[in-house]
């Protein structure tokens, strides 16, 4: 990423992180943003890191980045079916519409469900706070 951002102006070529657990590191080396699955559940927290960083509040951005990294692990290791299940569960979507198209297997292990819930919710308090102040 660094090589690219050094070689090309953002008006010509932009590099974006594919995950948000290195959003700030990516921004610090000239990246212009990220495309992150975490945003399906905690969009405001992702935008907040972006805003804090660009407002020069680096420490606050960094602190939120750590929390986000914990949450991101849940999405990354949970897979797409895990992500759909946990997003559906926490946003109150129909239980009948949380599976991937077959043959992607279902996310039906009670143990895994508990794990992903606990893992991703690291960001929940921050998201709620941001929603209230919006």
């Amino acid at each position: 990423m660094t090589r690219l951002t050094a070689a090309y102006p953002t008006s010509q070529f932009c590099a974006l992180a594919g995950q948000s657990d290195w959003l700030i590191p990516a921004l610090s080396v000239g990246g212009t943003g990220c495309i992150t699955g975490v945003g399906n559940l905690y969009p405001r927290a992702c935008v907040e890191i972006w805003n804090l960083y660009h407002a020069g509040k680096i420490e606050a951005a960094q602190k939120l980045q750590y929390t986000l990294s914990v949450s991101e692990l849940g999405f990354g290791d949970g897979g797409i079916n895990g992500t759909k299940w946990v997003v559906g569960e926490l946003l109150g979507y129909s239980e009948k519409s949380r599976d991937c198209r077959r043959p992607y297997p279902k996310f039906d292990s009670a143990e895994k469900r508990q794990w992903i819930l606990k893992q991703v919710r690291a960001l929940e308090a921050e998201e709620s706070r941001l929603k209230k102040t919006a």
Binding site: T10, C34, E59, Y93
Partner: protein
């Protein structure tokens, strides 16, 4: 030339500060119902798109990996684009950036994807390397592929580098250096080639954010 709410040009105009809208883009999930054919559950889908756009994110990516692009038809992708554009417009964000993943297994199929989603009002195409014939895909062949798609696509191309889903085919930094010169290639989504887990590697007391790129 239309600009979105961030003041970013919707195409690769030289006057714009950014070739692709900066910020947080969410790869929206696609929700399917439990019928035998697992059709898109539009009730849930529209609810989710509304939630995302209302939250203030800078853009949405439809039919990415999270959005299950591969098992979807081209028509379904176009329907998703139209639904997203409609919801964004209702929320007074008519120029909300919409990027759509391509999933063709041939160059012509990928180009057809780009043309179709443009007609449905998408702004950018997120293009993955076709990998069925991965054993034949040299670096040269991969670069030629992206350049031909970019030549023909009516919307700017964002390179999607994700070796994990394309049999290990990597678009390395030397290849990106070549591709970045194409006027219709506006950027890259860097998968894991960047600096994963770096957040957990830094201590909370660290004030320096300078991080070396691994490549």
């Amino acid at each position: 030339m239309p600009s979105n709410e961030n003041g970013v040009s919707a195409s690769n105009g030289s006057s714009s500060q950014y070739s692709y809208p900066p910020g947080i883009h969410v790869p929206s999930l696609t929700f399917f119902n439990d019928s035998k054919r697992q059709e898109i559950d539009w009730d849930t889908q529209n609810k989710h798109l509304t939630f995302l756009i209302q939250s203030g994110v800078h853009g949405i990516v439809l039919a990415g990996t999270n959005g299950e692009a591969m098992p979807m038809t081209r028509q379904e992708k176009c329907d998703l684009v139209q639904a997203t554009r409609k919801i964004a417009t209702e929320q007074d964000k008519p120029n909300f950036p919409i990027t759509v993943g391509t999933s063709g297994i041939s160059t012509r199929d990928v180009i057809d994807d780009c043309v179709a989603v443009k007609e449905a009002a998408a702004d950018y195409a997120l293009v993955l390397v076709p990998s069925f014939f991965h054993f034949a895909m040299t670096k040269e062949a991969i670069c030629d592929f992206f350049e031909e798609v970019a030549d023909e696509s009516p919307i700017p191309v964002l390179i999607y580098n994700f070796p994990g889903v394309v049999s290990g085919l990597n678009v390395d930094s030397t290849m990106l250096d070549r591709l970045a010169k194409h006027k219709n290639i506006v950027g890259v989504k860097v998968g894991l080639f960047g600096i994963p887990n770096v957040g957990s590697m830094l201590t909370s007391s660290s004030s320096s954010l300078a991080v070396a790129s691994p490549k």
